[in-house]
């Protein structure tokens, strides 16, 4: 019985040792990962560079696409660009009820205004384009 008892305490101690070992290794690993992460984020570009790359390329795409728009459709072009520039609604939706703070009235109003534009812009463009149907 006493022997059993000893083996039990021994194995408990053994287990504890192993656990400590494991936790040490885990801590080590955690340090290493955070090292790797900080290294990689030091290597990653700040967003402004990525953003500028996207921005400049999109300007070129816009330039070439818009020059191909037929002058007869310049009004619908304005309608569409007006509607899609309201994609700003994406930012407003995220800001509407952030986890940190409560309801944001400004973001709510921004969603309303952008939605006026999205619906208004697309509908007025559809009305215009409907008139440009080929007539017999």
């Amino acid at each position: 019985m006493a022997e059993d008892h000893r083996t039990l305490t021994e194995s408990a101690a053994d287990l504890a040792n192993r656990l400590q070992d494991l936790s040490e290794r885990a801590a080590d690993l955690a340090v290493q990962t955070s090292d790797v992460i900080s290294q990689s984020s030091a290597h990653a570009q700040p967003f402004i560079i990525t953003g500028l790359t996207v921005f400049v390329l999109a300007c070129f795409v816009g330039y070439h696409v818009v020059w191909r728009v037929t002058p007869a459709l310049h009004s619908p072009l304005m309608g569409i660009t007006n509607a899609i520039s309201s994609v700003i609604v994406v930012g407003a939706i995220i800001a509407l009820w952030p986890a940190s703070g409560g309801f944001s009235l400004m973001a709510f109003l921004a969603v309303v205004l952008a939605s006026v534009n999205i619906f208004g812009g697309f509908i007025i463009t559809r009305r215009m384009l409907h008139m440009f149907k080929k007539k017999a």
């Binding site: 402004i48 921005f55 899609i84 999205i118 208004g120 509908i123």
Partner: protein, 463 residues
């Protein structure tokens, strides 16, 4: 999830590009519009699926309110009111940009750009740019709307030291943006907004009514740049792509409009054009008599012509004469007359304004030609029917180097055998320049309201 969202945002961006691409021809335009709507739906759906977005009730409520208002307005509005509608819509994008910038400033954690009172420097710069451009777009568009709607005088409002004041305010604003970056103070943030709002008003009031095509395009462009600025702040590539597309689109339209008037962008922006200058040439044609005709004369001339080119201008839009005009053209076509329409790039109050109005009146788009495509044909035309246009036909732009519109490309209506001018009075056009064409032998003036006169001509043709 973040990667998934980035990919669907990219897809939305591509759909927006395809939407603009579709506008290269009327046949593909409606497909382009569908791409645009799908892209927008995709962008909004992706945003709603983001883990940090949980407040569905206020979001759906806001979209329903805004969407309802937008749909109501867009369905009800008259096509002639299109320019002011566009200006009004641009103002909303501007204000939305101001609000989003404000929301991001108040709650930077939501966008991962720092903590309240300690926002990353780059984000502060981008935020203040989005804020300033948005605010300028907002008030500038409201003034443009007022001028187009007739709520504010279309005449340029100028005062001494105006440009100096604007430049001074611009410099102050730059300093404030630097101050904001240093202090991160909320007071400075809203002071920038107020300053930009004032600047928007001051920038647009000196600009006259007929320069509005440039201004509406420019504000279109600004609304894009504001969206791009917000995209940089929120680290969102879709906003940057879309902002860049819209910004460059508006810039190109402004450029085309400026070229159509042979004026530099700066010259338009500085404003004051179309005031009292340039009445010098009026005196030397004061003793010449213009031939004034009646609707019956015009009807007879056109029925016996073999080719008629119609030149519409803003006056047609004001009088809502497009439907009567198409009826008249139908009668002429029935008589075997070849009828075409010639559109000057700056005719009307926004790019493509005349094309939309003619399309509204069911004029087939393949009868409507741009200036460079039809200008040579005036020499073979028997009649040029100029309705509600003046400056865009003025030959002084080619011959008189002292004229304020010298160098502006014009439609060569004078080369047609007969020019019929439908005008309310013998007065000069917007630019304040006399049109020597009124006094040519081949010109007949039809004085009266554009719609009434065209209807009288139709009656005379039918009898």
């Amino acid at each position: 999830m973040e990667n998934f969202a980035a990919l669907t945002y990219l897809a939305a961006g591509v759909l927006f590009i395809l939407a603009l691409r579709g506008l290269s021809h009327p046949e593909t335009a409606r497909q382009g519009l569908t791409f645009g709507m799908v892209g927008m739906g995709l962008a909004i759906a992706t945003t709603l699926l983001l883990p940090q977005v949980t407040a569905y009730v206020p979001i759906v409520l806001a979209i329903a309110i805004g969407g309802g208002i937008g749909a109501f307005i867009a369905n009800k509005i008259d096509m002639t009111a299109l320019p002011q509608l566009m200006a009004g819509f641009h103002s909303l994008v501007g204000l939305a940009a101001v609000f989003v910038a404000g929301a991001a400033f108040n709650d930077p954690e939501a966008f991962n750009i720092g903590t309240k009172g300690d926002i990353h420097l780059a984000s502060l710069i981008e935020m203040s740019l989005g804020l300033a451009i948005g605010a300028v777009t907002f008030t500038g568009s409201i003034i443009a709307w007022g001028k187009l709607q007739g709520r504010i005088s279309g005449k340029p409002v100028t005062f001494g030291g105006q440009h100096q004041l604007n430049a001074f305010l611009g410099v102050i604003m730059l300093l404030m943006i630097i101050l904001l970056c240093v202090t991160g103070s909320a007071v400075v943030f809203w002071a920038i907004a107020l300053l930009a709002l004032a600047l928007g008003v001051l920038m647009i009031i000196p600009i006259g009514g007929a320069d509005m095509p440039v201004i509406v395009s420019m504000l279109n462009s600004y609304s894009g740049w504001a969206a791009a600025g917000i995209g940089f702040t929120l680290h969102n590539n879709l906003l940057i792509i879309t902002g860049a597309l819209v910004g460059s689109s508006g810039a190109i339209l402004s450029y085309i409009m400026c070229k159509g008037m042979n004026r530099s962008f700066l010259n338009v922006i500085l404003g004051g054009f179309g005031g009292e200058q340039a009445s010098a040439s009026a005196a030397d044609m004061g003793d010449r008599q213009a031939k004034i005709g009646a609707a019956e004369d015009a009807a007879w001339i056109m029925k016996n012509a073999s080719k008629v080119i119609i030149v519409p201008g803003y006056g047609m839009a004001v009088a809502q004469a497009q439907h009567a005009l198409r009826e008249m053209a139908d009668i002429l076509k029935h008589e075997g007359v070849d009828v075409k329409y010639a559109i000057h790039p700056v005719a009307g109050r926004m790019p493509g304004h005349m094309n939309v109005l003619l399309a509204e009146a069911n004029v087939p788009y393949d009868e409507v030609f741009e200036m460079e495509d039809i200008n040579r044909e005036f020499a073979q035309a028997d009649v040029a029917y100029v309705i509600g246009a003046n400056d865009i036909t003025n030959p002084a732009a080619k011959s008189d180097s002292s004229s304020p519109i010298y160098g502006m490309p014009v439609l060569d209506v004078g080369k047609a055998k007969t020019v019929l001018f439908v005008k309310r009075s013998m007065g000069s056009g917007y630019a304040g320049v006399d049109n020597p064409l009124f006094f040519e032998d081949g010109t007949m003036m039809l004085l009266g309201d554009a719609k009434k006169m065209t209807e009288d001509i139709i009656k005379a043709m039918e009898s």
